[in-house]
């Protein structure tokens, strides 16, 4: 977003404001804006804003879990949840939309700051599914986290 004064009198001062949406950038960033004026000696000038945006909560390895395997064997995967704020974060609720396919377990690693969510497949027959797992937190900046889960469960060999 850009706001600026269109007319600046001789000897005067104006302003150009640049706003960056920190929801759309991640990590280090640099944004450039070209200023075009009627100064014949310098018709355009570039200005830059730089910075670094840190996520409130990090999901490692990411917000996606893949459960792949054979019925009768343990099929599970986990995601680590890290709170980057100084204030502790509690996970107040976990729910999903995959009916009887999965069960989950939340283990505090460093209570308030790091948790491990383990998701295990419990399908009784071969299945392919995709769904969501939601975590409700008490962190005002990130009240809800979403993890996408996909599952591919094969029959045992020879069955």
């Amino acid at each position: 977003v850009v706001r600026y004064d269109r007319i600046i009198p001789p000897g005067g001062k104006g302003s150009i404001t640049l706003e960056v949406n920190s929801r759309t950038v991640r990590g280090k960033f640099e944004k450039k804006a070209m200023i075009w004026s009627d100064d014949a000696s310098q018709m355009s000038i570039a200005v830059y804003v730089r910075g670094e945006v840190q996520p409130n909560v990090e999901l490692t390895p990411g917000g996606y879990l893949s459960l792949w395997g054979t019925i009768g064997k343990t099929i599970k995967a986990h995601v680590d949840i890290t709170n980057n704020h100084k204030e502790p974060m509690r996970i107040t609720r976990v729910w999903h939309d995959m009916a009887s396919h999965v069960k989950w377990k939340l283990t505090p690693i460093h209570p308030g700051y790091a948790y491990r969510l383990t998701v295990t497949d419990q399908s009784r027959s071969p299945a392919e599914y995709i769904g969501h797992l939601w975590l409700e937190t008490d962190l005002p900046q990130e009240p809800e986290l979403t993890i996408i889960v996909s599952g591919t469960v094969h029959a045992e060999a020879g069955k």
Binding site: Y4, D5, R6, I7, L18, A33, M34, D39, R50, E52
Partner: protein
């Protein structure tokens, strides 16, 4: 005699009015020349680094733009990329 005096006064007044007009014209022309002078854009700081921020925080910075010239500066467009 009286007519001569009156004519002389009229001439003197006419000269005064003419001089006044020339003076006013001169003032206006210098003012006009100033307005039509060249603008000169100056931005002292063209790079700004925000302090480290969290996702969702407001990131906003205002650059100061100066016109060091003698004409009005028009900012035609500011295009982010």
């Amino acid at each position: 005699m009286e007519t001569m005096m009156r004519n002389r006064n009229i001439k003197r007044n006419a000269r005064k009015i003419l001089l006044l007009w020339i003076f006013v014209f001169f003032l206006e022309s210098t003012r006009f020349a100033g307005a039509a002078g060249a603008p000169l854009i100056r931005i002292d700081q063209t790079i700004y680094t925000f302090p480290r921020a969290f996702e969702g925080e407001k990131l906003s910075h205002t650059f100061a733009v100066f016109n060091r010239g003698t004409g009005v500066l028009h900012i035609k467009e500011v295009r982010p990329s």
